[in-house]
Symmetry: D2
Subunit: 345 residues, 4 copies
């Protein structure tokens, strides 16, 4: 049994991780920590866990000591020091924050306003959307930088066409819509129920910090620099992201050809569902599960390709993918503990 | 492995049953049927099942033939003929409809406008909320009448005080609120999104068909006739029922005493969570799981007891309880296949 | 034109008042204040008012100076000092808070933990649900205590049966459900979107501070002490309250008799709609308007009467009723500025 | 007083028209019709109108006879015959359907699968977004083709940059999101509450029938053919459309320049609100009112302009704009009857 601990367990991603680990056949939830709620039980903060989880929230060091593998879900800028501690004690780290995602320190500085303090750590870290990067995770890996929610669905939707060179790399526009859990557990006027309910708008237009992470993944897939326009929106639902991706095709492409390409690309991937032609990806069909649903469309009038991906931002976009990365890292079947079927309603 | 089939698999309860059976370690989903969608795949009707369930919808006879145990989720009035068929072929039946719930034929006739055609069948049927009636299920049981959604949470909330004789049997008022899945998959103006969203009202005031079923359970617990006022409301959420129950206490009772009584009553019940004092049952903490959460309150100014129960109407209120009944009937641990942890959001 | 000012204009009730006053034909919005946002424009706090209202938020004294009539929407305990100032300057006050609602100082102290500091002020104040108390507002009135949201719909639903002596005064149970704006603009975990959406529960069970206000109104109507059990619930919609009221009838009463009584009682009331028999009050039919919808039901099996009222908590339950009180006080038609038709969706 | 009638009054747009006309100072609601509910009162179909509107639903001919001006809200293909009748009787027609929107018969045929039967009628019809086309409405106008919901917000958002020649006409991508009332009152599985709530997806990807209408407007503004990619999404809110519009700029453009251009363009338009820089258009700020809110953004990394518009699909996107067209046509102030302030929540 893998002893797994969670630092930052009272955030939404942390709680979801706890929930998944508590039912994982090869891991046990060894310890949980929180800065704000130390000393309380996790089930006091989340009454949904009443009678299920009896763990008391401890601190960072307590979690590291109790765990073989540490999951961290922290604000950016805090993970390097944590990684150093973990490595010093021979513990593995899966970081759900942003600090180990970008390979180019200049991009991190540009978008996060901070610079890497311990560059040597980043050489031991792997950024991993398993379907795209699983080969990079090896025995030498010390840290996995778990991908952001938006980059996951977007990377999976564009991978086949970028690898096949079917779309122009400077033409990609991504219009994404995320449920409110994406904004976290922290209170804000924007996420106050009466302000958020029956409302809808974009935010951080062309300025969202997931932009360089998306471009890093897409450029790697294309083998050339990809520069995108990325606009996220806040959607009045609890969970899920739909990303609608627009790209100019380099040559005429039919939907049939796209479907052939995608089915082939993802035929062995348990978590990527290329939907039947004529249907459209909908976040209502993936919530509470680890799937990424994809539907493929063309606009022959303009020569554009339109890709739609749907994921649960808290599962495939955060905690579920972190478990998938754990499975991969420990040589388990990637689906272990992730076989939840999305409820229909 | 129990071969389980579902008749009426495209209704909401049927789909939920399918979802649970597909991940049950001791049962397999052998066959599914539908009157409206025969010949289609279940995953065409419910795209959330894409890539997960490949079964094609057949007819009633197809399901009976393929199954050891038949779950039926049908409109009332159709289950007797089905039960007869099942018994003739030596198959067990768990009926999620109303036809095997009421032991008094007169009550069935009064509330449903139909009379039992095959009275002999009803003698072989057991109505079973497992926490209250599990001893009634024996080797001779041929049919289990699975309880309705409202009666489940209400029965569990009142059982301890009724058994202890703490409340006046003619004083019970139940104000219940159910999510929209309770109204089923069929279309109606009331459940059309713009009419249902940002709206709220009671319905079938003092006339809901679950009334006699609730009274049957409560009278059994009290050992004397209990007559209730029951008013359900349609709540603009997908899932869950909160029942707020009011009763005059026979003598002064404190919250502490109530909590003591309830903790004792339910100490060995894995699915009933008597919440910590000072907290309140909330459907947001039980959705997608098989729990019944209970909180207990008093109004010393008026001498009333107030009980609040929360369940997921589709799980503990329908499909989950049906699986629990299956487990019980087959001698399995009642929690088998029902260990889902409610998500916090 | 009445010069009207709002103290506490950035709370939800304050903003709604501003919105109504900006379109009132006999009043003008003269000034607005806020403790938290002084110096900003109201339209910066509420972008929905962009291009419509150019007022800058000032302080309490600024509002009093600029106004003939002051509306105050403040936390309890702050209105006495304000009232004193208004009276000293010859300004009228309509207080939307709790400080001028209860006539019995002991009840105020019991439920609010504070005592009246200036008892003489309370003699000049009138608590007024216009349909029930309008005769109390006279030339000598200096302050109107605007009713709470729950007490309004509940008072209107019970008035006819209490006046007619049809129900037992100790039998009344009120199960009320309020939209989230009722909890105000202040942030809390309970009203954080992902915690509030797809959730539902009661709160302050038998302990809500509107209890003594409701009992004061009901006792006045009955001519004898009325003691209630009152349980409010938080409903995941923005606006509206449905109150489901249960009472034991003193003698057999039919729905027809009830409808006759209510139609007669409210035949001249423009804002009380006694719905057609066979329909049920629904908050979706009154939102954004000043109506109180009533439907009347009986449970002949138990001898109970069931009354359902629906209002918009921010309009008839707060700002709209305050305008109605202003109209009444100034001798205007009570409907002036309140002719909004509820949208159907 | 203008005698106005509504054909198709029980659809959502029809009801909203009724609501607005009932409070219009220069018009009266003379008659209403419905195919499905003839003989019933409008307030029976929409209980929100109880006590407010006493009209009984009649038929098409009844409405024409009683009205000076007929509003029609019908499925496409039915308006030509109606227009002929109106013209024969000297009645004006504002058609909220699609039949008098497209000037090119070939486009109508391509997208609607029908051809114009009475081409002469179309010469007497004017398609009118008032802010863009009001000069076309003259004494000779016999029919106004009221714009579709999506084309309104999109046309207003792009008009200034297209007129100024700032964007490449073949680069425009429109990602629009509409509340569920946009799908109408008719029942469907997609708009069944449990299927629609907590779900989100695009629909009719690059195939929506508003595409040619949008292109017609944009081409007229640009003075050259504009071909767009248009993808609408179904948003789980009752009302409102947010359109996020992407276009490649022809030269470097700053947000400041855009704001200057837009403020100048719309300075005299009472219903177009160019929001303060740094804010973002949100449908939550325009619902229940006739505004079109616009926010303007640039992506300097890619040279794209991003425009966001928010309207209430039922008001500025349908009934409100129809009233605005009526006002314009009759020489009234365009804001008459349309001064509703959007509620903040």
């Amino acid at each position: 049994m893998i002893k797994a601990g969670i630092i930052g367990a009272t955030g939404y991603a942390g709680e979801e991780l706890a929930r998944l680990l508590l039912r994982h056949s090869e891991a046990e939830l060894a310890a949980v920590s929180s800065v704000s709620f130390t000393g309380q039980k996790l089930s006091e903060v989340y009454p949904s866990l009443a009678g299920i989880c009896d763990l008391t929230l401890t601190d960072e060091d307590g979690v590291i000591a109790a765990s073989d593998l540490v999951f961290a879900s922290l604000p950016h800028g805090l993970s390097e020091q944590l990684a150093e501690k973990c490595l010093a004690k021979g513990k593995r780290l899966i970081d759900l924050g942003a600090d180990f995602r970008l390979t180019d320190p200049a991009e991190y500085e540009r978008w996060y306003g901070l610079s890497y303090q311990k560059p040597e750590l980043h050489g031991k870290a792997v950024y991993c959307i398993p379907e795209l990067h699983r080969k990079l995770v090896t025995a030498d890996t010390a840290i996995i930088g778990n991908p952001g929610c938006y980059p996951t669905g977007i990377g999976l939707s564009l991978a086949p066409v970028l690898r096949a060179g079917l779309v122009k790399p400077d033409s990609i526009i991504i219009d994404a819509k995320s449920g409110v859990t994406g904004a976290g557990r922290g209170l804000s006027q924007t996420t106050h129920y009466p302000d958020c309910n029956e409302a809808f708008s974009p935010y951080k237009i062309a300025q969202h910090r997931h932009t360089p992470e998306i471009e890093q993944t897409l450029s790697g897939l294309a083998g050339e620099p990809v520069r995108i326009t990325f606009v996220p929106h806040l959607l009045p639902v609890n969970r899920g992201i739909v990303s609608t991706v627009y790209a100019d095709s380099r040559r005429e492409v039919t939907a049939e050809e796209l479907y052939r390409l995608y089915r082939e690309s993802y035929q062995n991937e348990p978590f990527v569902r290329v939907l039947p032609e004529g249907t459209v990806a909908n976040l209502g069909r993936v919530k509470y599960a680890n799937y990424c649903d994809l539907s493929l469309h063309t606009d022959p009038r303009t020569g554009r390709i339109i890709l739609v991906s749907a994921i649960d931002n808290m599962v495939k976009g955060a905690a579920g993918q972190a478990i998938q990365n754990m499975n991969l890292w420990y040589g388990l079947d990637e689906t272990t503990g992730l076989t939840m079927i999305p409820p229909a309603f």
